[in-house]
Amino acid sequence: MNVLAIETSTANCAVSLVGEQVCVSLQEYAPQQHAQLILPMVDQVLSQAGFQAQDIDALAFGEGPGAFTGLRIAAGVVQGLALGWDKPVIAVSSLQAMAYQAFEQTGQTHWLACLDARMGEVYTQWCEFDTQGQLLNCSTAQLVKAAMINPASDCNGVGDIQTSYPAQAALFSRWLDAVPNANAIAQLARQRPAQAYSLGQQIPQPIYLRPSVS
């Protein structure tokens, strides 16, 4: 299954095309530049792979949690592409993506993904993979006070909280710095073809976890 994935939940603006015969990824650290960069990157990934729209089986996007505007850019872009190309969309947790990246990098299978949510809070999700990287189990993504992060002594952590909450990052037996990328979104999407929904079935939406009015 050839999947075109978009991930813009953090300052990392990322596009990836992954299939049996293809793996092309582009990413750029670009705070507040996603609206400028994302479609040129999609265009570039497709042309590097020599792909046309008809070669794509499904679209995927990082649904969050993360920065609200970035999440809506990813959701909006996949909506537009899905409508224009008549493709189904697979939503993937941006936290699961980070955990998958950590698995790929280390081969270790259990990770707590932590993304800085500002205001003293962190988005977290616990993920367990098999040795092939298939997601076996995960908790529901949640928003917690940074001070509440209290991992078991043998727990691995991955994410972007090292700078903002070094004391929490230090609690993990192993800590990896990461932000979500589109390759991981595509890899996880390819594990769940049954969750590819047409726009008629489901409009791709961000996962915010925080209310719009506090």
Partner: protein, 350 residues
């Protein structure tokens, strides 16, 4: 992605600059084919104003289903270009529509154009049967704007006057709010004014004795507040007093706008006026401007009522003019919170 300038086009448009999600399809040969709008007014009402994050979240839910619905209503025509509101407005709201619009155009290999929201309002009367000829004076009065503009053609705009503080619609809404008339209260002020006694209060006509075309409405809002508080102190804070204040307030705004428009027409030597924006739905303002234009043997042009407020039909029309002139944006859909009408490029095919 190359268009032949001046070729007729069928354009799909998306408007999401504030609290209305709207989609329309305009064909330069056949006119408006379909238009739909989802208003978020009820969502924001409990907060007494537009909550930007709430607006953005709703746009990203509603726009794509509205596109599908509008395409079906129009009979699934072949779309030659896509227009979307790129500013001015709420950044998150604009980006929601922009992301969908620009990606759809990319997927369809057709050109896209980011449209100036106020250019949409300026050109809205062009969708009517008897459109104004250039040049004309335009009065744009809404909850966010109060501007007098000289229009010599598409993209040829000269800002002649602006509000120095509140927009006219903002003063309407605030007058309503202080008297407990709910949100958005502007239309309620217009409605209550119908049963108001216009001889009971007299409100000032701000800045009419000063030269120039700038306006100010915050003083009028304060005058409403003082009048209402005095009535409250005297135990006179009833519905009739509300209606009388609404009437006096509305007359003051209408007179002020009429005086400024007369001055603009005289100054520019013109005799056509276009009135657009949500406040232009107000009956008294229309009556005053109609009287003014009748006396001068000129003409006032209004969009139909549903196109006075935010809509995508006007964005489709404005976008079609620019796309047909060969203008288009690259793949960047960055939005502009602030954007001067005077910075737009002129197009010549009219």
């Amino acid at each position: 992605m190359i268009t032949n300038p001046m070729q007729p086009m069928c354009v799909l448009a998306i408007e999401s600059s504030c609290d209305e999600s709207a989609v329309a399809i305009y064909d330069s040969r056949k006119g408006l084919l379909a238009h739909n709008l989802f208003s978020q007014v009820a969502l924001h009402a409990e907060y007494g104003g537009v909550v930007p994050e709430l607006a953005s979240r709703d746009h990203i839910r509603k726009i794509t289903p509205l596109i599908t619905q509008t395409l079906e209503q129009a009979g699934k025509p072949k779309i030659d270009g896509i227009a979307y509101t790129a500013g001015p407005g709420l950044i998150g709201a604009l980006l929601s529509g922009g992301a969908i619009a620009r990606s759809l155009a990319f997927a369809w290999h057709i050109p896209a154009i980011g449209v100036h929201h106020m250019e949409g309002h300026l050109l809205a009367p062009m969708l009517e049967d008897n459109p104004p000829a250039f040049p004309f004076i335009a009065l744009l009065v809404s909850g966010g704007h109060s501007m007098i503009i000289r229009v010599d053609g598409i993209g040829r705009y000269k800002l002649l006057g602006d509000t120095l503080d509140d927009a006219a619609g903002e003063a309407f809404d605030k007058t309503a709010k202080m008297m407990g008339l709910g949100y958005p209260g502007g239309p309620m002020v217009s409605k209550l004014a119908l049963s108001g006694d216009q001889t009971r209060y007299r409100f000032p006509r701000p800045m009419v004795d000063r030269p120039g075309l700038d306006m100010s409405f915050s003083g009028l809002k304060t005058f409403s507040l003082n009048t209402w508080q005095k009535a409250q102190a005297e135990g006179d804070d009833n519905d009739q007093t509300r209606a009388d204040i609404c009437r006096a307030f509305e007359l003051a705004v209408a007179d002020t706008l009429m005086i400024k428009c007369k001055r603009a027409l005289d100054q520019e030597g013109l005799n056509r006026i276009v009135v657009s924006g949500g406040v232009s739905a107000n009956r008294e303002i229309r009556a005053k401007l109609d009287q003014l234009m009748a006396k001068r043997k000129g003409q006032a042009f209004y969009p139909r009522l549903e196109f006075c407020t935010d809509n995508a039909a006007m964005i489709a029309y404005a976008g079609a003019q620019r796309l047909m002139a060969g203008e288009q944006n690259d793949l960047n859909f960055a939005a502009k919170a602030r954007w001067s009408l005077e910075d737009l490029s002129a197009i010549d095919h009219h």
